[in-house]
Amino acid sequence: MGPRNSAIQMTILLAIVYLLMTANFEPINLAFSLIIGLGISSLVRPQHLSIQWRRLPIALAAIAGYLIYMLVDMWKSSLQVGRILLDPRLPIKPGIINIHSGSESEMAIALSAHAISLTPGELVVEMDDQGEMYAHCLDISQAEELIAEAQKVRRSFLNQIFE
């Protein structure tokens, strides 16, 4: 798959995103979205973008499932943090714990760090090149098991997305 092919794919994807943003499907806006997509992809010059269009529905379903899982996770842990904040004794046990990301690819490490940081109560402070992450937790007493469990679910989604 040559660079021109991936540039065309990127143009189409960008045009779709632009059309979603503007929610205006008139011909002139369609043309404008293609011009913008072409402009951006000629500036970025994607080299290794390879989209398998046949797998796109599965990947999109996995992305949607991942987003819903993340929102539910965020909701639950926000309620938990809210309960801590409203408690007059402020029962926090802060600390920094070591989390092994357990994956090799940079994208997967970045995404799991992102997911951990997104949920309230856990915040990745530092990470090193071996994929070890150091997360600040509001309550370290059970954080390790909870994070390990959530990691497992997230990894199954991510594997579906980046097959």
Binding site: L86, P94, G95, I97, L123, V124, E126, Y134
Partner: protein
């Protein structure tokens, strides 16, 4: 009478306001910069997500635009919290009432000034 989308919108509005307030409460009550980042970056972030959802249901904002904005918000807020926390750790701001610090072994050169 209210329509269904208005009721959902109002519910989102209330939830968004509650989470934003919780975030500010956390900013005031929690002891140090790391713990405060949990409250401001993320609990308030969820509040902003709900307020955007309310805007989709109650104002002429189109759903596609609102969803893309929610996605961008979810994508960028953790990066901001992480950057601030990392910078705070590197200049040696101590963790108040910290019970464990497994990063200290990895970065021993940074000394917290108690």
């Amino acid at each position: 009478m209210y329509s269904v989308s208005q009721i959902i919108g109002l519910l989102c509005l209330v939830l968004g306001t509650v989470f934003s307030m919780l975030g500010i409460l956390g900013l005031l009550r929690l002891p140090d910069v790391y713990a405060r980042l949990h409250a401001t970056g993320k609990v308030s972030g969820l509040g902003a997500v709900f307020l955007l959802a309310a805007a989709i249901f109650l104002t002429p904002l189109s759903a596609g635009k609102g969803l893309v904005l929610i996605g961008l918000l979810l994508l960028t807020t953790p990066a901001v919290s992480h950057a601030i926390a990392s910078a705070a750790y590197r200049i040696g701001i101590p963790i108040k009432a910290g019970q464990r610090d497994e990063l200290r072994k990895r970065l021993p050169k940074i000394k917290p000034h108690e």
